[in-house]
Amino acid sequence: MTTLTDLMTHDHRQCDGAFASAEHHVGRGEWDAARTALALFGRALNTHFGAEESILFPRFEQVTGMSHGPTMVMREEHRELRAALARLERAIDDQDADEYAGEAETLLIMMQQHNMKEENILYPMCDQRLHSQREELALDIGRQLGAGSPTEVSQ
């Protein structure tokens, strides 16, 4: 049976792919393609955050009673990541490859340390504490993630 950890981790990797695609186009000075790729990354990222913030986290908070616990920290980091995404968009508007490279490096490491926390700690906790409703939750989340999936991304 697919665990929530597997499902969400797989989506993290999809987002990574979209991120790499945008970085690839910026590196080649293909600004229009970079803008499109970054938009796909942004959509994938926000869809993922949306699924967590509207489905997974509330359910976790309800079952554990931890509304000021790890989910609050993750929401805060989502806000930081959205701000970093906005800085990448600005760098593309300015066609500033150096600025983009620096901001991309920052976003990548911030995103991956965030993902590590979720994949190693929060998602296993969700699998454990939401065991009985895992199937139904996975379906709900899968539907939402499918809608924002960056399927058009290519290099």
Partner: protein, 429 residues
């Protein structure tokens, strides 16, 4: 996990000066190794000279152990969900014990002074014990139970065995404790390289290579089996060596070398599949580290069947400088600017991006110098001419001084930005 924010929280992150003090001191030990090579060029005559033992410990304990402990204090909460108890006083005492212990041990080994060796071993042993105790408490309370957490535990077992073997060897050297010196030294090296350093590097790589280089994951069978196989192989090799069964002990040593090479090969193949454009200097350095593991394993295998002093020295240079110093330096160049950025962001100060906190150009140049130092060390080990050894010593000093300068530069930019204190624009909720 408690009902608080627990280890996911930024609050679980130690203050910047905690890991930074470990990293900067570590670079000083690297410089000390270069200075030592410059003034004692005969140190590289064989792996058994007092100088070679001193140099090895300046790098393994002074540089590697300090960085690894500093980094673990930072990442154990993130990767394994372990929040370390009494973090600040614990970190300060571990830093003081390990750095003074490393200096005393290296000095004792270089000069053959029993009291210095014993004092160094005592300080080091205490530092490692304090850290392992804190890590064990943190990991016991951890909610995470995946393979990275398991492999970190195996690495900590490797550290404990390496430390115990080291203490026994110090007692043998300084008080004449009757033990099979050659076998125990080889075991100490094997547990240090593979059980501690190798497993820690692998446990880190399972996570960071796919995430930061955007590659596919390592094969599941490899991440599941590698560290337990290494642990089992080391235990078997140790038992056979101490039971006086040299032929079978050699076979298990060969299996361990093959395991190390398999990890390096898997990493190299994975790195070829990166989706990131234009691999940066850290990426190249990671490739150098993995190539060095394979070459080092080959030299170690040759050394088993050859009496020539070059092969064990070459294995040591390749594994310690080629692999560990490379991988650690590449990691420091990612972790230090990120921590500077993170602490500025936490302080609600507008943070410059990572490449402004640590620009690419000095990093690339320092890593080129590091790459040139590796063949210089190998030539010095092969030639035994003091001119080459002194040159390698100079390059080593330059490499670590530059590393120190680059890291200190990031710390200075962090400090300056904090003082300027421009509040960050917050995104709406």
């Amino acid at each position: 996990m408690s009902a608080g924010q627990g280890p996911l929280s930024y609050e679980a992150t130690p203050p910047f000066h905690v890991p930074l003090s470990f990293f900067l001191t570590a670079a000083l030990f690297g410089m000390a190794a270069g200075v030592y090579l410059l003034i004692e060029p005969e140190a590289l005559a064989s792996r058994w000279t007092p100088g070679a033992l001193a140099l090895t410990h300046l790098i393994t304990v002074g540089f590697m152990l300090l960085v690894m402990l500093g980094a673990l204090m930072q990442v154990l909460p993130v990767v394994a969900g372990a929040s370390l108890p009494a973090l600040r006083p614990m970190a300060a005492s571990v830093h003081a014990l390990v750095s003074t212990g490393a200096a005393a041990l290296a000095w004792g080994l270089a000069t053959g002074r029993p009291l210095l060796m014993q004092g160094g071993a005592l300080l080091l042993g205490s530092g490692v014990l304090v850290f392992l105790g804190a890590a064990a408490l943190g990991l016991r309370r951890s909610a995470a139970s995946q393979s990275t957490g398991r492999d970190l535990r195996i690495a900590l077992i490797g550290l404990a065995v390496t430390a115990v073997l080291g203490i026994v060897l110090v007692l043998a050297l300084s008080r004449g404790l009757a033990v099979p010196l050659r076998e125990l030294t080889n075991l100490h090296v094997g547990w240090g390289w593979l059980g501690w350093g190798g497993v820690l590097l692998a446990a880190t790589s399972w996570v960071v290579v796919p995430m930061f280089q955007i590659t596919p994951n390592y094969p599941t069978w490899l991440t599941r089996l590698w560290a337990p196989l290494v642990l089992g192989g080391l235990a078997l090799w140790s038992a056979l060596s101490l039971a006086g069964s040299p032929a079978t002990a050699t076979s298990s040593g060969q299996v361990l070398a093959a395991l190390a090479a398999a990890f390096a090969l898997a990493t190299l193949l994975l790195l070829r599949r990166t989706r990131r454009p234009r691999p940066d200097a850290s990426f190249r350095t990671l490739q150098l580290a993995m190539g060095s593991v394979m070459a080092g394993a080959l030299c170690a295998l040759i050394a088993i069947g050859s009496d020539h002093p070059f092969w064990p020295l070459a294995a040591g240079v390749l594994v310690l400088h080629g692999c560990f110093v490379s991988a650690i330096t590449a990691m420091l160049y990612k972790i230090v600017p990120f921590l500077a950025w993170l602490h500025l962001t936490q302080a609600r100060v507008k943070a410059p991006n990572m490449k402004k906190l640590l620009p690419d150009t000095p990093v690339r140049r320092q890593l080129i110098l590091h790459t040139l130092t590796l063949p210089a060390l190998l030539i010095a080990a092969a030639s035994e001419a003091s001119l080459f050894t002194r040159l390698a010593g100079l390059l080593l000093i330059g490499e670590f001084a530059w590393l120190l300068f680059n890291l200190a530069g990031t710390a200075a930019r962090w400090h300056r930005t904090m003082l300027e204190g421009v509040p960050s624009a917050r995104t709406p909720h």
